[in-house]
């Protein structure tokens, strides 16, 4: 039981989440709109299990090999997860610093997106690895949950800001970038510290409190950005297929964006209240009786 008890003793948020009862239920598995879940990516469930449960899984996998609760050897699944998350943490910190430096040097947000876009695209796309982790089962999060959240971020980055150049200097872009950056740094720090079995309370506190502001801020940023993009999409007819064509199908990206925006209305409250419930469980130790399905 060595590693598990260490993890539980020092694992802070992770162990608190476990003692709070069954692993937190996955986020609503109904279709989550892109972007709506984007700022939520920080707050999804696997973090609450974080290091401790992975430590447990790794322990089963490596059998007798004794470790001191730190990173396992290269090639093991725990090592892969740790490297991925550590790399992401590094990436988002670089992004955050780059954004601060740009603003300090230029005093304006114009051109900010252009200067950080390569880093953003790299590290946000890198998050696809998290889906792979879920697929091969080395992380307890469901593929659907991780998939939806990562897809929504990818959608925002590649299908909106990358593809619709005129909106790159909108203020709303900075708004969601800031929200994402702070969220991801908090989240990956949480994972990293959990893995090291030394989770400062502040990090746990941050992970379960920052979202209260960051999530709505991010959502507003995303919605405003999509809204700003609409006229350009309509004018250029980009990403759209018109009739007649061989496969008798059509797609209008403009209406797709409108529907996406509308989907925030049912989905944002669901995710937000879910996070609030998680917070009450983990930070305040409340026992919440889940409604029956």
């Amino acid at each position: 039981m060595g590693r598990l008890t260490e993890a539980e003793a020092a694992g802070g948020g992770a162990s608190a989440a476990r003692s709070a009862g069954t692993p937190p239920a996955p986020l609503p598995s109904t279709f989550t709109s892109p972007g709506c879940a984007a700022t939520m990516a920080s707050s999804e469930e696997d973090g609450t299990n974080g290091g401790a449960s992975e430590a447990g899984e790794e322990r089963e996998a490596t059998g007798k090999r004794r470790r001191l609760g730190l990173l396992a050897t290269p090639g093991s699944s725990l090592y892969n997860i740790a490297m991925t998350r550590g790399c992401s943490l590094f990436g988002w910190m670089v992004l955050g610093i780059a954004m601060v430096r740009f603003y300090m040097e230029k005093g304006t947000h114009k051109g900010l997106y252009k200067s950080i876009q390569k880093t953003l695209k790299f590290f946000q796309t890198f998050a696809l690895l998290e889906i792979v982790h879920c697929l091969i089962g080395i992380v307890p999060t469901s593929v659907l949950v991780a998939g939806v959240q990562v897809s929504s971020r990818i959608f925002m980055v590649w299908l909106v800001t990358h593809s619709i150049k005129p909106i790159q200097n909108e203020e709303s872009v900075v708004l969601f970038l800031v929200a994402w950056t702070v969220t991801e740094i908090t989240r990956y720090s949480f994972y990293t510290f959990s893995l090291l079995n030394h989770l400062p309370y502040f990090i746990k506190w941050a992970r379960y409190n920052f979202f209260i502001i960051l999530y709505p801020v991010g959502v507003v940023g995303e919605l405003l950005t999509i809204h700003a993009a609409l006229p350009y999409v309509k004018k250029t007819g980009m990403f759209s297929i018109r009739l007649p064509n061989k496969y008798n199908v059509s797609f209008d990206y403009y209406y797709f964006l409108l529907i996406t925006m509308a989907s925030y209305i049912p989905l944002f409250p669901q995710l937000y209240f879910h996070m609030l419930r998680q917070r009450r469980k983990v930070l305040l130790g409340e026992v919440i009786v889940e409604k029956d399905d």
Partner: protein
Amino acid sequence: MDLSVSVVARESSQGLGPVFGLNGLPRPAPPKAAKKPKKAVLFFEVEILDAKTREKLCFLDKVEPQATIAEIKNLFTKSHPQWYPARQSLRLDPKGKSLKDEDVLQKLPVGTTATLYFRDLGAQISWVTVFLTEYAGPLFIYLLFYFRVPFIYGHKYDFTSSRHTVVHLACICHSFHYIKRLLETLFVHRFSHGTMPLRNIFKNCTYYWGFAAWMAYYINHPLYTPPTYGAQQVKLALAIFVICQLGNFSIHMALRDLRPAGSKTRKIPYPTKNPFTWLFLLVSCPNYTYEVGSWIGFAIMTQCLPVALFSLVGFTQMTIWAKGKHRSYLKEFRDYPPLRMPIIPFLL
């Protein structure tokens, strides 16, 4: 269990016949005004607790030992009329599996006072109702598009007719498919469960009606493009469609014949004389196999991407169901044919 011992004793004393008593001596003639021998029945008591709150909801005394769960549910409804039997889940353990309606009280691992835990399954709706609603929708909706009812396409197309044969053929196939489903629901299928949760009807109807509208919009569109390989493609696809419809119907009939009316028996399905049922040799759920085949045929016939997507989604769902069914067959029947796969021969 003193009660039962004395019952046995009394019965055996009677069993020795009217002449001899227990000690072998001739029994004196019974007094004329003898009471009728009372057959001792061991009544059970049933208390029903809420599975979540453990609150005592109902106490039933004098329950026959041979009472079924269904009868207990009826008794429970009397004290809580808002919970009709279909929405009751009774179980021996709050987190355990639901007891079946046919289970008999005395066969359960309970003492003479049985504690059952109740869970509300929510508002229920009958399977037949759900099926009829979800299938009637696509039938009707497709025809709205086929006849180009106003406000769908531009006004100059209102009530016009397509000049492509394949469009008319597609309407016939689609309508036939859903009429077949409606008739099967009414006359062929024998359902294991009477009801399902009410919210399913909204979910299911959205799926069926939504996809029907989406497909029908393109197939009946004034700018519809007929299949690339023309009449050849349409003929081949139609053949696939018809064969799979016949196959699907044959399987439904074979499954129906496995189960007598009103029963819930489960048996391994086997091929019959009907060649369409020979697919049972290779697959546990050939009805799903044929269903996918029908939709693939329809997709090729119309060369319409939304139809292909509908087929794909349907295939995914049916594969999940087939795998579940296959697993239950394997669990329930030791001698289940090993060659069979859930839905695609040899593959899936």
